[in-house]
Symmetry: C2
Subunit: 170 residues, 2 copies
Protein backbone atom coordinates (compact mmCIF):
# COMPACT_ATOMS: atom_id res chain seq x y z
CA UNK A 1 0.00 0.00 0.00
CA UNK A 2 2.83 2.34 0.68
CA UNK A 3 3.56 2.14 -2.99
CA UNK A 4 0.55 4.27 -3.75
CA UNK A 5 -0.16 7.92 -3.31
CA UNK A 6 -2.76 10.36 -4.42
CA UNK A 7 -0.58 13.04 -5.84
CA UNK A 8 -3.03 15.43 -7.38
CA UNK A 9 -1.56 18.80 -6.56
CA UNK A 10 -4.51 21.05 -7.18
CA UNK A 11 -7.18 19.56 -5.00
CA UNK A 12 -10.68 20.46 -5.99
CA UNK A 13 -11.55 20.41 -2.32
CA UNK A 14 -8.64 22.25 -0.79
CA UNK A 15 -8.07 25.97 -0.72
CA UNK A 16 -9.91 27.59 -3.57
CA UNK A 17 -7.76 27.99 -6.62
CA UNK A 18 -7.74 30.33 -9.57
CA UNK A 19 -10.24 28.55 -11.63
CA UNK A 20 -9.98 30.78 -14.68
CA UNK A 21 -6.45 29.60 -14.93
CA UNK A 22 -7.72 26.02 -14.88
CA UNK A 23 -9.99 26.74 -17.81
CA UNK A 24 -7.48 28.73 -19.80
CA UNK A 25 -4.82 26.12 -19.42
CA UNK A 26 -7.18 23.30 -20.25
CA UNK A 27 -8.26 25.14 -23.33
CA UNK A 28 -4.84 25.91 -24.67
CA UNK A 29 -3.69 22.38 -23.97
CA UNK A 30 -6.73 21.12 -25.80
CA UNK A 31 -5.98 23.29 -28.81
CA UNK A 32 -2.42 22.10 -28.91
CA UNK A 33 -3.36 18.43 -28.60
CA UNK A 34 -6.03 18.67 -31.24
CA UNK A 35 -3.59 20.29 -33.63
CA UNK A 36 -1.10 17.54 -32.93
CA UNK A 37 -3.67 14.87 -33.59
CA UNK A 38 -5.20 16.57 -36.61
CA UNK A 39 -8.50 16.71 -34.80
CA UNK A 40 -10.79 19.69 -35.22
CA UNK A 41 -11.76 21.56 -32.09
CA UNK A 42 -14.80 23.19 -33.64
CA UNK A 43 -16.81 25.95 -31.93
CA UNK A 44 -19.38 23.61 -30.41
CA UNK A 45 -16.71 21.23 -29.22
CA UNK A 46 -14.65 23.99 -27.71
CA UNK A 47 -17.65 25.52 -26.02
CA UNK A 48 -18.66 22.20 -24.51
CA UNK A 49 -15.13 21.75 -23.24
CA UNK A 50 -15.25 25.18 -21.66
CA UNK A 51 -18.57 24.40 -20.06
CA UNK A 52 -17.43 21.20 -18.41
CA UNK A 53 -14.43 23.14 -17.16
CA UNK A 54 -16.55 25.92 -15.65
CA UNK A 55 -16.36 24.09 -12.36
CA UNK A 56 -15.05 20.87 -10.97
CA UNK A 57 -18.58 19.57 -10.88
CA UNK A 58 -19.46 17.04 -13.52
CA UNK A 59 -22.12 18.35 -15.85
CA UNK A 60 -24.95 16.35 -17.34
CA UNK A 61 -25.46 16.36 -21.09
CA UNK A 62 -28.76 18.14 -20.76
CA UNK A 63 -27.31 20.82 -18.54
CA UNK A 64 -24.74 21.49 -21.23
CA UNK A 65 -27.49 21.48 -23.80
CA UNK A 66 -29.43 24.08 -21.87
CA UNK A 67 -26.45 26.37 -21.67
CA UNK A 68 -25.71 26.00 -25.38
CA UNK A 69 -29.30 26.85 -26.13
CA UNK A 70 -29.04 30.02 -24.05
CA UNK A 71 -26.01 30.99 -26.08
CA UNK A 72 -27.75 30.51 -29.39
CA UNK A 73 -26.00 27.33 -30.42
CA UNK A 74 -27.98 24.67 -32.06
CA UNK A 75 -28.97 22.31 -29.36
CA UNK A 76 -30.62 19.04 -29.83
CA UNK A 77 -29.25 16.16 -27.79
CA UNK A 78 -27.09 14.73 -30.58
CA UNK A 79 -25.14 17.96 -30.79
CA UNK A 80 -23.97 17.64 -27.23
CA UNK A 81 -23.44 13.92 -27.26
CA UNK A 82 -21.32 14.19 -30.38
CA UNK A 83 -19.18 16.90 -28.89
CA UNK A 84 -18.77 14.88 -25.71
CA UNK A 85 -17.88 11.78 -27.66
CA UNK A 86 -15.18 13.76 -29.44
CA UNK A 87 -13.78 15.12 -26.18
CA UNK A 88 -13.73 11.66 -24.64
CA UNK A 89 -11.95 10.23 -27.67
CA UNK A 90 -9.37 12.97 -27.52
CA UNK A 91 -8.87 12.35 -23.83
CA UNK A 92 -9.97 15.89 -22.99
CA UNK A 93 -12.87 14.84 -20.83
CA UNK A 94 -13.97 11.99 -18.64
CA UNK A 95 -17.33 10.45 -18.18
CA UNK A 96 -18.55 9.93 -14.64
CA UNK A 97 -20.66 6.84 -15.00
CA UNK A 98 -22.35 6.94 -11.65
CA UNK A 99 -23.58 10.49 -12.26
CA UNK A 100 -24.28 10.31 -15.98
CA UNK A 101 -22.12 13.35 -16.23
CA UNK A 102 -18.95 14.69 -17.74
CA UNK A 103 -15.94 16.56 -16.46
CA UNK A 104 -12.77 18.01 -17.94
CA UNK A 105 -9.66 15.88 -17.78
CA UNK A 106 -6.80 17.33 -15.74
CA UNK A 107 -4.04 15.53 -17.59
CA UNK A 108 -5.06 15.11 -21.21
CA UNK A 109 -1.47 14.63 -22.31
CA UNK A 110 -1.31 11.20 -20.81
CA UNK A 111 -3.69 8.55 -21.95
CA UNK A 112 -5.24 7.22 -18.77
CA UNK A 113 -8.31 6.06 -16.95
CA UNK A 114 -10.00 8.61 -14.75
CA UNK A 115 -10.15 7.88 -11.04
CA UNK A 116 -12.44 10.14 -9.06
CA UNK A 117 -13.49 11.28 -5.64
CA UNK A 118 -17.07 12.50 -5.87
CA UNK A 119 -18.72 14.56 -3.18
CA UNK A 120 -22.38 13.67 -2.82
CA UNK A 121 -23.14 16.96 -1.10
CA UNK A 122 -21.56 19.63 -3.27
CA UNK A 123 -21.23 17.53 -6.40
CA UNK A 124 -17.58 18.26 -7.00
CA UNK A 125 -15.22 15.76 -8.53
CA UNK A 126 -11.54 15.41 -7.88
CA UNK A 127 -9.49 13.42 -10.32
CA UNK A 128 -6.85 11.26 -8.73
CA UNK A 129 -3.54 10.21 -10.17
CA UNK A 130 -3.16 6.62 -9.14
CA UNK A 131 -0.85 4.95 -11.57
CA UNK A 132 0.06 2.16 -9.19
CA UNK A 133 -3.60 1.33 -8.69
CA UNK A 134 -4.10 0.90 -12.39
CA UNK A 135 -1.27 -1.57 -12.52
CA UNK A 136 -2.62 -3.47 -9.54
CA UNK A 137 -5.96 -3.82 -11.20
CA UNK A 138 -4.27 -5.04 -14.36
CA UNK A 139 -2.59 -7.73 -12.34
CA UNK A 140 -5.78 -8.72 -10.61
CA UNK A 141 -7.44 -9.08 -13.98
CA UNK A 142 -4.50 -10.95 -15.39
CA UNK A 143 -4.68 -13.43 -12.52
CA UNK A 144 -8.19 -14.29 -13.75
CA UNK A 145 -6.95 -14.44 -17.33
CA UNK A 146 -9.10 -11.44 -18.05
CA UNK A 147 -8.01 -8.95 -20.70
CA UNK A 148 -8.61 -5.64 -19.04
CA UNK A 149 -9.59 -2.77 -21.32
CA UNK A 150 -11.25 -0.16 -19.16
CA UNK A 151 -11.52 0.70 -15.51
CA UNK A 152 -14.20 2.61 -13.73
CA UNK A 153 -13.17 3.81 -10.31
CA UNK A 154 -15.53 6.24 -8.67
CA UNK A 155 -15.29 6.90 -4.97
CA UNK A 156 -18.08 8.86 -3.41
CA UNK A 157 -18.71 10.40 -0.05
CA UNK A 158 -18.17 13.77 1.56
CA UNK A 159 -15.41 16.17 0.64
CA UNK A 160 -13.59 18.05 3.40
CA UNK A 161 -15.74 21.16 3.00
CA UNK A 162 -19.00 19.32 3.12
CA UNK A 163 -18.16 17.32 6.22
CA UNK A 164 -18.55 20.51 8.19
CA UNK A 165 -20.62 22.65 5.86
CA UNK A 166 -23.02 20.37 4.04
CA UNK A 167 -24.39 21.36 0.66
CA UNK A 168 -21.80 24.02 -0.01
CA UNK A 169 -21.95 25.05 -3.61
CA UNK A 170 -18.36 26.04 -4.40
Amino acid sequence: MSTMSASDLSSAFGASHDHHQCIDQALSTAKRLCKQHRARLTPVRQRVLELIWQSHKPLGAYQILEQLAREGFNSAPPTVYRALEFLLEQGLAHRITSLNAFVGCCHPERHHQGYFLLCRACGSAQELQLDALGQQLQQIAAAQHFRLEAQIIELSGLCPNCQTAPEASA
Copy 2:
Protein backbone atom coordinates in the same frame (compact mmCIF):
# COMPACT_ATOMS: atom_id res chain seq x y z
CA MET B 1 0.69 -5.31 -4.43
CA SER B 2 1.50 -8.75 -3.22
CA THR B 3 -0.87 -8.05 -0.40
CA MET B 4 -3.80 -8.42 -2.72
CA SER B 5 -5.41 -11.38 -4.32
CA ALA B 6 -8.55 -12.14 -6.21
CA SER B 7 -9.76 -15.09 -4.26
CA ASP B 8 -13.16 -15.76 -5.71
CA LEU B 9 -13.30 -19.51 -5.87
CA SER B 10 -16.14 -20.04 -8.28
CA SER B 11 -15.10 -18.03 -11.28
CA ALA B 12 -17.88 -17.05 -13.58
CA PHE B 13 -15.48 -17.45 -16.44
CA GLY B 14 -13.78 -20.68 -15.52
CA ALA B 15 -15.09 -24.17 -15.97
CA SER B 16 -18.85 -24.12 -16.04
CA HIS B 17 -20.37 -24.70 -12.65
CA ASP B 18 -23.67 -26.02 -11.40
CA HIS B 19 -25.62 -22.89 -11.68
CA HIS B 20 -28.80 -24.23 -10.14
CA GLN B 21 -26.82 -24.70 -7.02
CA CYS B 22 -25.81 -21.03 -7.22
CA ILE B 23 -29.41 -19.97 -7.33
CA ASP B 24 -30.64 -22.34 -4.68
CA GLN B 25 -27.94 -21.35 -2.29
CA ALA B 26 -28.41 -17.66 -2.96
CA LEU B 27 -32.10 -18.03 -2.33
CA SER B 28 -31.85 -19.89 0.93
CA THR B 29 -29.19 -17.51 2.18
CA ALA B 30 -31.46 -14.64 1.24
CA LYS B 31 -34.35 -16.13 3.16
CA ARG B 32 -32.22 -16.66 6.19
CA LEU B 33 -30.80 -13.14 6.12
CA CYS B 34 -34.16 -11.54 5.62
CA LYS B 35 -35.55 -13.44 8.57
CA GLN B 36 -32.61 -12.33 10.67
CA HIS B 37 -33.13 -8.73 9.69
CA ARG B 38 -36.89 -8.83 9.95
CA ALA B 39 -37.13 -7.90 6.30
CA ARG B 40 -39.86 -9.36 4.15
CA LEU B 41 -38.79 -11.31 1.11
CA THR B 42 -42.12 -11.00 -0.66
CA PRO B 43 -43.01 -12.89 -3.84
CA VAL B 44 -42.01 -10.10 -6.21
CA ARG B 45 -38.77 -9.50 -4.35
CA GLN B 46 -37.92 -13.17 -4.31
CA ARG B 47 -38.74 -13.58 -7.96
CA VAL B 48 -36.56 -10.61 -8.92
CA LEU B 49 -33.75 -12.08 -6.88
CA GLU B 50 -34.15 -15.39 -8.70
CA LEU B 51 -34.13 -13.63 -12.04
CA ILE B 52 -30.91 -11.76 -11.44
CA TRP B 53 -29.42 -15.05 -10.32
CA GLN B 54 -30.48 -16.88 -13.47
CA SER B 55 -27.08 -16.16 -14.91
CA HIS B 56 -23.96 -14.31 -14.03
CA LYS B 57 -24.95 -11.65 -16.51
CA PRO B 58 -26.27 -8.46 -15.02
CA LEU B 59 -29.89 -7.86 -15.94
CA GLY B 60 -31.47 -4.53 -16.77
CA ALA B 61 -34.55 -3.39 -14.88
CA TYR B 62 -36.66 -3.53 -18.01
CA GLN B 63 -35.48 -7.04 -18.84
CA ILE B 64 -36.62 -8.10 -15.41
CA LEU B 65 -39.86 -6.27 -15.94
CA GLU B 66 -40.48 -8.12 -19.17
CA GLN B 67 -39.95 -11.46 -17.51
CA LEU B 68 -42.24 -10.58 -14.64
CA ALA B 69 -44.88 -9.54 -17.12
CA ARG B 70 -44.62 -12.91 -18.88
CA GLU B 71 -45.17 -14.60 -15.55
CA GLY B 72 -48.29 -12.62 -14.79
CA PHE B 73 -46.82 -10.40 -12.11
CA ASN B 74 -47.81 -6.82 -12.04
CA SER B 75 -45.18 -4.98 -13.87
CA ALA B 76 -44.80 -1.30 -14.11
CA PRO B 77 -41.32 0.09 -13.64
CA PRO B 78 -41.76 1.05 -10.00
CA THR B 79 -42.47 -2.56 -9.11
CA VAL B 80 -39.08 -3.66 -10.31
CA TYR B 81 -37.17 -0.68 -9.05
CA ARG B 82 -38.66 -1.09 -5.60
CA ALA B 83 -37.75 -4.74 -5.49
CA LEU B 84 -34.23 -3.96 -6.64
CA GLU B 85 -33.91 -1.20 -4.08
CA PHE B 86 -34.88 -3.66 -1.40
CA LEU B 87 -32.37 -6.24 -2.59
CA LEU B 88 -29.62 -3.64 -2.72
CA GLU B 89 -30.44 -2.46 0.79
CA GLN B 90 -30.35 -6.01 2.08
CA GLY B 91 -27.03 -6.59 0.36
CA LEU B 92 -28.50 -9.35 -1.77
CA ALA B 93 -27.75 -7.69 -5.08
CA HIS B 94 -25.32 -5.27 -6.61
CA ARG B 95 -25.88 -2.56 -9.10
CA ILE B 96 -23.52 -2.42 -12.06
CA THR B 97 -23.44 1.28 -12.77
CA SER B 98 -21.70 1.12 -16.11
CA LEU B 99 -24.32 -1.26 -17.47
CA ASN B 100 -27.39 0.09 -15.72
CA ALA B 101 -27.94 -3.44 -14.60
CA PHE B 102 -28.19 -5.64 -11.55
CA VAL B 103 -26.65 -8.88 -10.44
CA GLY B 104 -26.92 -11.17 -7.45
CA CYS B 105 -24.39 -10.74 -4.69
CA CYS B 106 -22.15 -13.71 -4.04
CA HIS B 107 -21.46 -12.93 -0.42
CA PRO B 108 -24.50 -11.27 1.09
CA GLU B 109 -23.44 -12.18 4.60
CA ARG B 110 -20.68 -9.63 4.61
CA HIS B 111 -21.50 -6.02 4.06
CA HIS B 112 -19.23 -4.93 1.25
CA GLN B 113 -18.78 -3.01 -1.96
CA GLY B 114 -19.01 -5.00 -5.14
CA TYR B 115 -15.94 -5.16 -7.32
CA PHE B 116 -16.49 -6.58 -10.78
CA LEU B 117 -14.88 -7.91 -13.90
CA LEU B 118 -17.28 -7.34 -16.77
CA CYS B 119 -16.91 -9.05 -20.13
CA ARG B 120 -17.95 -6.76 -22.93
CA ALA B 121 -18.44 -9.71 -25.30
CA CYS B 122 -20.53 -12.22 -23.36
CA GLY B 123 -21.85 -9.79 -20.78
CA SER B 124 -20.93 -11.88 -17.77
CA ALA B 125 -19.89 -10.37 -14.48
CA GLN B 126 -17.50 -11.83 -11.97
CA GLU B 127 -17.53 -10.44 -8.49
CA LEU B 128 -14.09 -10.07 -6.95
CA GLN B 129 -13.17 -10.28 -3.31
CA LEU B 130 -10.62 -7.55 -2.83
CA ASP B 131 -10.67 -6.57 0.78
CA ALA B 132 -7.20 -5.07 0.67
CA LEU B 133 -8.20 -2.86 -2.23
CA GLY B 134 -11.09 -1.44 -0.29
CA GLN B 135 -8.75 -0.49 2.53
CA GLN B 136 -6.29 1.07 0.13
CA LEU B 137 -8.99 3.21 -1.36
CA GLN B 138 -10.09 4.24 2.11
CA GLN B 139 -6.57 5.40 2.80
CA ILE B 140 -6.31 7.28 -0.45
CA ALA B 141 -9.54 9.08 0.37
CA ALA B 142 -8.41 9.74 3.91
CA ALA B 143 -5.22 11.33 2.60
CA GLN B 144 -7.44 13.87 0.86
CA HIS B 145 -9.55 14.26 4.01
CA PHE B 146 -12.41 12.78 2.10
CA ARG B 147 -15.02 10.72 3.95
CA LEU B 148 -15.47 7.73 1.72
CA GLU B 149 -18.91 6.17 1.69
CA ALA B 150 -19.17 4.14 -1.48
CA GLN B 151 -16.87 2.69 -4.06
CA ILE B 152 -17.60 1.80 -7.63
CA ILE B 153 -15.01 -0.48 -9.16
CA GLU B 154 -15.93 -1.94 -12.52
CA LEU B 155 -13.28 -3.48 -14.70
CA SER B 156 -14.28 -4.31 -18.22
CA GLY B 157 -12.67 -6.16 -21.06
CA LEU B 158 -12.66 -9.70 -22.36
CA CYS B 159 -13.13 -12.76 -20.22
CA PRO B 160 -10.98 -15.83 -20.90
CA ASN B 161 -13.66 -17.51 -23.02
CA CYS B 162 -14.30 -14.53 -25.19
CA GLN B 163 -10.67 -13.87 -25.95
CA THR B 164 -10.75 -16.94 -28.15
CA ALA B 165 -14.44 -17.35 -28.83
CA PRO B 166 -16.02 -13.93 -29.02
CA GLU B 167 -19.70 -13.45 -28.21
CA ALA B 168 -20.07 -16.72 -26.38
CA SER B 169 -23.35 -16.75 -24.56
CA ALA B 170 -22.70 -19.00 -21.58
